[in-house]
Structures are given as structure tokens and as C-alpha cells.
Symmetry: C2
Subunit: 154 residues, 2 copies
């Protein structure tokens, strides 16, 4: 029965994937997923930011890869990472404000703004350093706008 065999292998594979991923097991899975989303934003944006600031030499290929990653990852669907009942005070290890769920359309618009700014960055990141610097402001503004509205201050 190929289906049964495949399903067993799939579950095995899924379990292995899940095991690989769970470095911090006590965290709510959705919270962990959105932290992962933010980590991947930060890691890729950091590559571009260090170049823009002159802390790292401009590398067209690396800049393009980081910008492509950021654009693609920012443009994914985050809904499942922000289920109801996972605001600050409802689960551990989150700073997500309840306002996210009462202003979901605006939250989504702010996510879309990041995705759009990241896409614009990806359109020019491999050109030259000035292009990265020029596109960086809009990306940073979208980060700030969403965090200011929807993330509890430290």
C-alpha cells in the first residue's frame, strides 16, 4: 500500500522536522513561529544594515540574497502565527499587544507595508551600496510602525 507507506514516512519525516526545530520546547508553538519569522527578518535585514552602515563591505550577491529572503519571508501568510488567545498576558514569552486582534486589518496592512518595502529593496539590493542605503529607510520605517503599534515596550 503505497499510501500507507508514504503516510508513515511522512509522519516520521514530520516528527523529525519538528524535533529539529524545537530548541525551546516550553514556548507556545505559534509564539515560537512568529519569533522565528522575526528572527529571519532580523538576520537578513542585519546583513543589509551592516553594509548600509559601513560595518561590512558591500557584497552585491550577498545583499541580493538577503533582500530576496527578506522579501519572500515577509510576504508569507502570518495568520496562523497569531491565533486568538496569544497576546501578552495570555501566553508566556510574547510582547504581542491585544491591539493586534482588535485592529487585525491595520496589523495586516502594516505587514503588507513591510513586504512591499522589502520587495522594493530586493529590486535594487544587487545594484550598489547606495541603492541598499536608499531602500533601507522604508524597510526600517515599516518595522518601527508595527512595533510601535503592536509590541509591548521593553
Amino acid at each position: 500500500m503505497p499510501f500507507a507507506r508514504h503516510l508513515i514516512l511522512a509522519m516520521l519525516g514530520g516528527a523529525l522536522c519538528a524535533t529539529a526545530a524545537i530548541a525551546h520546547e516550553n514556548e507556545n508553538p505559534a509564539v515560537e513561529a512568529r519569533h522565528s519569522q522575526m528572527h529571519l527578518h532580523a538576520f537578513n535585514l542585519g546583513i543589509l544594515g551592516r553594509m548600509a552602515q559601513g560595518q561590512a563591505e558591500y557584497d552585491a550577491e550577498l545583499a541580493q540574497v538577503a533582500a530576496d529572503n527578506l522579501a519572500v519571508i515577509a510576504g508569507t501568510d502570518w495568520h496562523a502565527y497569531f491565533p486568538e488567545g496569544t497576546a501578552v498576558g495570555e501566553v508566556e514569552d510574547t510582547r504581542a499587544l491585544p491591539a493586534i486582534w482588535t485592529n487585525m486589518a491595520d496589523f495586516e496592512a502594516k505587514q503588507q507595508a513591510l513586504a512591499d518595502a522589502a520587495k522594493a529593496m530586493a529590486g535594487v539590493a544587487g545594484t550598489d551600496l547606495a541603492s541598499v542605503q536608499g531602500a533601507m529607510g522604508a524597510v526600517g520605517e515599516t518595522c518601527s510602525a508595527c512595533h510601535k503599534a503592536y509590541r509591548q515596550p521593553d
Copy 2:
């Protein structure tokens, strides 16, 4: 000076993004990035796996979103998450075997196999439960193949 203003805002935004993301500050940033990558695989694959196993009701829209996310995220460029010098024994909190760096072409091929299988899943996930179940085996096999070759057993 619009450029200076934008750069300052960008750095502010970048810093905010980075602050948001760093929940576990002692981890190597590249290790954290690849853990984040695996977490997002596992979270989205988990949605599909629970439906495939009958632990959750099939939801065409949710299945499609999860499969699209998995396909897009798996298809990003992971190179910067696996820099030289970050194998098990070289940095904390990783099970990445040194074989990754001595067999990089094969490691990349195994990543591509996951991306291809996830893309095939995304092509059918919104159709019906049987389609999800049918596509799951190939995804799980690519997880297992890479973990078997390149991840230290528990």
C-alpha cells in the same frame, strides 16, 4: 538630508526588528536563523500533518496557506544560516554535522528536494484531504534524508 534621515530611521527600525527577534540572546545568530527556518517548516508542515493524520479537520484554505508558506520558506537561500565554523562542537546549541560543509553540493541538493516536494504539496493542498495525504510522503522523505545525513542524532 533625506538620506541621513532615512538611514537613521532604518537603523532604528533594524534595531527594533532585531530586538523583537532576539528572544534567546546567547545563541549564535546563524544558528538561531537556521533554527527559525526549521521552526517555520515544522509549524507549517505540522498544520498539514495533523490534517493528513486525521488529528485536525481538513481545511482547504488553511492547508493551502500552510503549504504555500512551507514552499516559499523552504525555497529561500540558506547559505548565510550555515557559515563555516558553526558545526556541532564549534558552537553551542547545534546538531549540524561537519559533513554539511564537506558535502555542500549534496546538502544543497537535499534542500532543493524539500523545496520541490513542498512546491508539489502547494500545488494540491487546497484540493482535498487525499491530495494532502498524497503529497505528504515526499515532503517527509526529504526531511528525513537531510536529517539522517547531516544532523547529529539526539
